[in-house]
Symmetry: C2
Subunit: 368 residues, 2 copies
């Protein structure tokens, strides 16, 4: 069990062997449920055991749901089901459900107790702690949000073992990032363990993960241990926590310029490679460090670097310029001097950043 300190209230991350064991700890008679629709289809019998039918609202986990228009019927559904201010909201799903659930729990009755059962690697290993939520408005993505940690997080790696392969790789992007921020030792141990992470095909012949549950559980825990001190020291992301954005300025731009053809965590992997490449060009990191990372990370982003290569370069630079972290003619980037030695610094846009990103995409990505 991990305890996270927060201005609002401390909260815990608790591990369970399976979903049913996690659900049994929930006081069903004073709880209301917000559940990822797709997840519920896979776990219907277990959920039916634990969730009173008249207390559950099912939500599609899409970006479109993260808007005031789409949230309104969810609020109304919960109110119609007589959720009251002393009720407990249980959120079961990945990042989108967490964003929606955290937002609702912050503003309904000016704040509601809530608990989170994250069901993706990304949510379990990264986003579940740190208390951020993000909502879209009009054309502006993630510009609305709150800081509102759950009162408790229940993690069970058993629900991850059969996720689609790219969903696993997307979560893994943040797991890799956290070990790069941590130490060379942590990163190399992760790379060793990843050798046994395999994909297989399900009945519909889609690529799904086939990973030992104890390895998933190990790297979920290790990731949260790395992230914890950052979010405790700087919950509201005004200083040291910015380091966790390593790879994200570029990653977000790659996601958006490919119209989300690149999953988030895979964008982050490509973004970290870009940041390392830029760091080499700025004389901060050695080229052998970049080359080693490039080789080691390739299996975890291919073939998405091809998609990046085909994306609009204009849209990439527009997105970098409009990144909510920027102000003037320089872009605040998290750069690297090597394992565990990341630093935030401004990089002049026209003189340094644009040529480096152009060269990275043309020379380093996909097949030339």
């Amino acid at each position: 069990m991990l305890t996270i300190k927060s201005r609002a209230h401390d909260y815990t991350v608790e591990n369970f062997p399976d979903l049913a064991s996690a659900l049994i700890t929930i006081p069903a008679q004073r709880s209301w449920f917000l559940i990822d629709k797709r997840f519920s289809e896979f776990y219907r019998p277990i959920l039916d055991q634990a969730v009173p039918a008249n207390r559950a609202v099912y939500v599609e986990a899409t970006e479109e749901q993260k808007s005031f228009e789409a949230l309104t019927p969810i609020f109304l559904d919960l109110l119609k089901r007589e959720l009251k201010r002393d009720g407990l909201l249980i959120v079961i799903g990945g990042g989108v459900l967490q964003d929606i659930g955290a937002f609702i729990a912050t503003v309904l009755f000016r704040g509601l107790r809530w608990e989170l059962i994250p069901t993706t690697l990304l949510a379990q290993a990264d986003s579940c702690i740190g208390s951020k939520s993000s909502i879209n408005i009009g054309p502006y993505k993630n510009q609305i949000g709150t800081f509102c940690p759950p009162n408790r997080i229940q993690v069970t790696s058993s629900v991850l073992a059969t996720l689609p392969w790219d969903e696993i790789r997307s979560g893994l992007g943040e797991v890799i990032k956290l070990q790069l921020l941590s130490s060379e030792k942590g990163f190399r141990e992760l790379m060793d363990d990843l050798k046994s992470w395999r994909k297989t095909e399900d009945r519909e012949q889609k690529a799904v993960a086939a990973i030992p549950a104890e390895l998933l559980s190990k790297w979920v825990s290790r990731s949260l241990e790395v992230k914890k001190p950052y979010v405790e020291a700087d919950e509201f992301d005004k200083g040291i926590r910015n380091i966790l954005n390593y790879g994200h300025t570029f990653g977000h731009a790659y996601e958006s310029a490919t119209h989300y053809g690149i999953p988030h965590g895979i964008g982050v992997v490509l973004g970290m490679l870009t940041a390392t490449y830029l760091s080499v060009r700025l004389g901060l990191a050695e080229v052998v460090h970049y080359q080693e990372l490039k080789t080691m990370l390739q299996p975890w982003h291919e073939p998405y670097s091809n998609i990046l290569r085909k994306g609009s370069r204009d849209e990439i630079f527009q997105a970098i310029k409009h990144d909510k972290k920027n102000t003037g003619q320089a872009v605040n980037c998290i750069l690297t001097r090597g394992f565990g030695r990341m630093e935030k610094m401004p990089v002049p846009l026209a003189e340094q950043l644009v040529p480096a990103v152009n060269d990275f995409i043309e020379r380093e990505c996909g097949s030339a």
Copy 2:
């Protein structure tokens, strides 16, 4: 200058002789403005001096504006005007503008610095401190909201002196409530000062206030001094702060059952009389106390008790039952044992509350 402690950040209430003096303290070059449309029409030349035209969004101060649908274009307007996370939001208006501004400042960029220039007696003397915001959703009023204090409040009583008379009386309801909560001495001093509060008629022959600015200023300050310890001790309204709801369970029901034919603060005055009447029937307060209050408060609610008398009794009891503070067959009421001696206690609905409210409205309100 008054300083209020808050979990988010301490904040100050500063007094200014007039609007121009308050506006001059605002760093216009890094500020964006949310302004009550009607107020802006009265103070156009002064606002034009201080507010860059491309940084101001004007909002109608109506209940309909307090919804996600109506807020969306306001968010988008601010974003289009290039408000960034390091910008400062200046909110100028009464309670509705405060609700909207506080909500936007809580959730835009996960929190934005904001300052408030309250322009009604109710906002200056009561709602500006305590950090609550309220938004409506579908048929549910004020069920959405946040706790988000402004970073600074600039008060100038000069903008109150010409408000519509009922707007002054509505704010006065909360001023009276705070003195009743405070002490017999404070309440009697207020009642003495009120003898000089007059209404007059404007060019359009509407009733407007004609009140010495120093008396408005005095009772704004006195009110905030009474409220301050409650909101500091219990910012999130889980205990002692509930006392500030004195008169509100009934007042809200009267407002809603008359479809807002009764202004908020005047509903509170009628609600406090109801609570005192009920307290007498429950053996808590003496009948002479009720009778004295009834006589003294009459000028500050007439002729609205007639409107209450004509309102639907069913809707009143429905509203009381659905009050967000209630749970079962008893209603949590703030009752009184006399000046400064209010207490929260459950009152059985059918046996005690319903007959007392019926008798209050039939025997004590309007012309029989």
